[in-house]
Symmetry: D2
Subunit: 414 residues, 4 copies
Amino acid sequence: MEVFEKWESEIRGYSRTYPTVFASASNARQVDEAGRSYVDFFAGAGVLNFGHNNPRMKRAMIEFLEADGVAHSLDMATTTKRDFIAKFVSTVLEPRGMTMRLQFMGPTGSNAVEAALKLARKVTGRREVVAFTHGFHGMTLGSLALTGNDVFRRAAGVPLENVHRLPFETAPGGGLASLEAYRAQLADVSSGLLPPAAFVVETIQAEGGVNVASAEWLHAVQRLARDVGALFVIDEIQVGCGRTGSYFSFDGMGLDPDVVCLAKGIGGYGTPLAMNLNRPELDAQWAPGEHTGTFRGQGLSFVAGREALTYFDDDALMTEVRANGERMADALRAVAQEANRGFTVRGRGMIQGLDVGDGAFAKAVAAECFARGMLIGPCGSGGRVLKLIPPLTIPDDDLGEGLETLAGAVRDTL
Amino acid sequence: MEVFEKWESEIRGYSRTYPTVFASASNARQVDEAGRSYVDFFAGAGVLNFGHNNPRMKRAMIEFLEADGVAHSLDMATTTKRDFIAKFVSTVLEPRGMTMRLQFMGPTGSNAVEAALKLARKVTGRREVVAFTHGFHGMTLGSLALTGNDVFRRAAGVPLENVHRLPFETAPGGGLASLEAYRAQLADVSSGLLPPAAFVVETIQAEGGVNVASAEWLHAVQRLARDVGALFVIDEIQVGCGRTGSYFSFDGMGLDPDVVCLAKGIGGYGTPLAMNLNRPELDAQWAPGEHTGTFRGQGLSFVAGREALTYFDDDALMTEVRANGERMADALRAVAQEANRGFTVRGRGMIQGLDVGDGAFAKAVAAECFARGMLIGPCGSGGRVLKLIPPLTIPDDDLGEGLETLAGAVRDTL
Amino acid sequence: MEVFEKWESEIRGYSRTYPTVFASASNARQVDEAGRSYVDFFAGAGVLNFGHNNPRMKRAMIEFLEADGVAHSLDMATTTKRDFIAKFVSTVLEPRGMTMRLQFMGPTGSNAVEAALKLARKVTGRREVVAFTHGFHGMTLGSLALTGNDVFRRAAGVPLENVHRLPFETAPGGGLASLEAYRAQLADVSSGLLPPAAFVVETIQAEGGVNVASAEWLHAVQRLARDVGALFVIDEIQVGCGRTGSYFSFDGMGLDPDVVCLAKGIGGYGTPLAMNLNRPELDAQWAPGEHTGTFRGQGLSFVAGREALTYFDDDALMTEVRANGERMADALRAVAQEANRGFTVRGRGMIQGLDVGDGAFAKAVAAECFARGMLIGPCGSGGRVLKLIPPLTIPDDDLGEGLETLAGAVRDTL
Amino acid sequence: MEVFEKWESEIRGYSRTYPTVFASASNARQVDEAGRSYVDFFAGAGVLNFGHNNPRMKRAMIEFLEADGVAHSLDMATTTKRDFIAKFVSTVLEPRGMTMRLQFMGPTGSNAVEAALKLARKVTGRREVVAFTHGFHGMTLGSLALTGNDVFRRAAGVPLENVHRLPFETAPGGGLASLEAYRAQLADVSSGLLPPAAFVVETIQAEGGVNVASAEWLHAVQRLARDVGALFVIDEIQVGCGRTGSYFSFDGMGLDPDVVCLAKGIGGYGTPLAMNLNRPELDAQWAPGEHTGTFRGQGLSFVAGREALTYFDDDALMTEVRANGERMADALRAVAQEANRGFTVRGRGMIQGLDVGDGAFAKAVAAECFARGMLIGPCGSGGRVLKLIPPLTIPDDDLGEGLETLAGAVRDTL
């Protein structure tokens, strides 16, 4: 670790939480250089939906490299990118009757959100964007303005403007009433409020504490957005790509977003990729090159990402995800009941959170898990929620081991 | 191309400029699916310093994949990352006596700049940052506020604040006088100006038109920054990593920046990576996790980037770069002379620009080059500068072919 | 009128509403140059609480002029100013046990609010200020940012920042629930909200539509301000100085504001004066001269304002105001009942509003009143509320005439 | 003084500088309650151009009061206001061939500037306004953003945005070169600068240190404004109304401003009044009531202000002002020469400054003057300039006495 301590920036975080040097990884396992194996319930912060070093993707990537495929192409057309697009269209869009346009940008979720904000502001000619308390949308100034977390916001060093903040459904002051109050204020010409360009919402706030919005509330947000002439933008970065048991976390809810932001899992192998889906008539208002980025065209990401999409050719994986989600929730509820400390369990599919109400306790549990060979991370305000987001492809044994390890760690930490 | 036209966002740009579908690439060549080969004088906007699909990197990446190396690790410690850091330290930092800390963030140049801004604002407690006309620093709101280009700025849709704009050395109103005028204004308590947190400068404005700053002017900027208590930040994203004939574009100038932003070429293979070098006493002010990002730990980028650093084990490549740069400049000067239209030639090492004074003409030349089998892109205000940034590893034949193609295209376009 | 039409700015307003040239005025009467007399239910927008050309004030002012009193003194000490201060202290502050410091600034209400904002921000080190929908606080950029009215806001031409908007008690989404929701959001570190420097509130929104806050709600605002470390600022500019039947509109409510903004009526004769009352320990944080203004020391305003304070030596006028207020409210309720169109009546003391729900109708009524020899003005969203604010000293006959004129005008306009 | 110390805000300033209580005043004399007489070289910060309690104005005001003229009228038409407008038109506008429209607003200079900014932004649809270092334009957020002084700016407590700052002609970095540099930057699409809505300039920066702009430079500012589509706004608040030896400080220069801001001296007697002159085709873009203010219609100010205009019926006073100005400048030059400390003398007409280069010294001289029976105030950065702005009507004896007092005070303070 000395190399990291001596040369890497003091800002490093996870290498402090998990103080070992990892040497290899496979599906739901990371192995450190001492040979110790850890079951991974963190999955690269929700990136590795299909496991570390997914063998199908690995094979495809090696073939691509050996064939001298175009690894880096900005937004030039390549055969690899075409294959990815075609596969995304046939697997995701067409079955849902969606006609969205695919926009590629710098390969981070933050870039995706920044692009969505630009489009919303351009299309509406408005400045202000509605974001929700506890939301997490990125670290660059545009997306950070939407992010709720105080620590991140203060690091900006400048005022974060042009955002109107509403409480998330499950947050203090939240629910349908606050949406209606805002609607009434917007309708009131002396309210001093500006009409918004967009509502940007996560269906499940992953970083924010595994806060799950109801379909009813999401519909109310969408309806409000439509009624006031704003775009309805779903930030699907952490909970899309199959995490909740369907490709989109909002599948089956009958929602009709104007923009969907994707990143993290879309690149399959941990290979960076970000992509927005834009309603065509909105997308048509982009001028070529208005929002660019060097790493828009990542051949390896397209290859791995295309392979990832094959998991959605049938419902096998998603069925498993829903079953695993139930198993995880059951296990957490058992932990909560045994603890008898008012813990709550929240989630959908394979994102499940155990809210222990206390960041210090959650941190201690995570540390104890690590000591026992498991990677898990806290999230939410003050880090009070233990978030379980293992690879969707985690073997039953590893899932069981992780759940038992967590139960033991909680028990012994109490 | 129909897949792109039907499904990709209207914002797509390069696939319109180079209207073909590329299937493979190798060193300074891209080949489209019809088998046509193009000599590449664009190198992925300055990313592919070591050529497309560099064989040494490719081999290392395949080995890494086969060994199940940790492909995605956030900012956990991995053996691969350690190898990269150690190699960077021994190859770049130690020979220069530099003790900077390495900070990784979301793998785009824009993220690097955003991180630098946060650090500068945090360390100084100031808001305003000095940027220069024609500068290009990224597309997200924080870095975009530094970027000069009007088209990009308007796409923000919100006021871009907290930046004080000075003319670049070679821009209208530029030179030492404007720095001294600004110094005098800052010293004047009734100037109404805020003391700046940082000066962010490119030694050569690549996107801005291959505008080359002198060492004298850069020293004046650094001195002014020091004198007014601001950080001196060099954005080395496009012209670092060997592009100018030495690792840093400012090597040999005796400059001592507080932060150096790196991206593009640092990942070697077009694999995304961004990294800031922070002066240790400034870096010490970061709190862990204050600026995060999902794709901070990219195993493939570390592997390829480490391999790229071996090109700096000796001076062979850099010697060649300087020679090639001369050859390119000579060729461009000949073109300019023959054209007799007031064209000017600017650059250093293997970034050379031919300023034809007219964006429409430059665009026509680039189109003619493409028709003749060459990729080249315009830059600068209105796109009036043809920018030559081939891979540093370009074979002599390809370099010669490209220069001849360009000369012919200019001749015939006139 | 040709002089005005030819030479005065197109921005002129009241000379269009009341298209005649006034030549003289006395108590509740304005007389135009044709000799036509109008009963004045507008009182210079709430300035002339003691009538036009109040004879006691007039005599004092003439004496002051003849004695060469110091008419203009910036914030130098003068005998006249001392007399005013001493009278204000003995009449208003001491009987209430208040120890506030008197701050003079540019003689407009807007300047008073701007000064209060500076003090709040300075004392707390915070930027954001809470204002309420439908609030009116002035026209300069700082106070305008608090003002709710859309027409005024758009005229700013720049974003109006640093204000957090809550619904007023009686506005859509208002009441105690919205205060509690905001409290909860502030307590939530991931809410993305900044802690406020101050809550600025009118007890009765005069321009906003004669919206009357309850003591309970005002206490809740004060308590919330205290709890979150913000100042509690009452903008008393239009409804203070006796308008509601006591000197302060909040008398008897047990409130304890940190800053009270006064203007309009404080100068007595329509002579400009503005004054803030600042809690001493907050006021102590002002550095001398931090907020200045040329017309801070107005001798004529001090003389007339001092005379005005004698109306509060006993309760005679205030008793009358309360009785007149009842009479006005009764008359309006009769109008509302007769009209049977859902009109509502709101107010306290001698500020009473008839909300006719429709700006065009209210405008027509006001025009009809003018035609019949009465000045009255609409307020509120779209101008839908007829606001009655005659001089507190209005003779019974004039009050009766005005109320009858209004009733007749409503009847005939329907 | 105890009343002031006990009850007035700590922000009070001049009552500390001149620690006595004034009881009466006449022309260039203020007399304190102990009967001590002071010669006044400060004139209420440039308000009392026609002396304290000017007898012609006093008589007119008393007559107005006795006749029950309309003292307060918002922007209703009154005979008094009409007389003022007609007199201003015939005396000031028509002889100059000016067709400007007169706009009245809240009666402070700051309100005048705020109104000018709104008009400029509305007319151009632009946000940013050019202001100059050392400029003073007011204390409310819009005008304060233009003001250069650091102490005042910091008191805002919020970022002051939407202003581009250029050095004043005589300030560090100033002169024609900086205007040309700015022009070049604006012409450069990649400069990152916004086109400005207006240039707001004082011909002589009074608060800023008696900095005198040349006609050549002012023309360059006007030309630049015209060329870039911005308004040319002259803030004439302190040096207009005859101060420099002609009605406007820019008379005879051939300038053609779009907006002229007037306040201070326009009301004659120290009675508050502010007025903008707007070019008619710009003024036509105001909608009625877009910028309002309670104290727009001040009968006493119109009466006194009308009387003040009679001083411009012939050239007698202005001739005297020019002669007095020479006498003042001569006296100051003699002081400077005798002191032999590098003092400089600046000014035009009866605004003259002695720059002693050191705020503490200037403050000591002012205190010594006060001790000797004279009121004079420092201005400029750190208060290093002694500013002489006696009433234009000062008797020769008083002028002589004041100049001698100052000379003696400087001599003895050295």
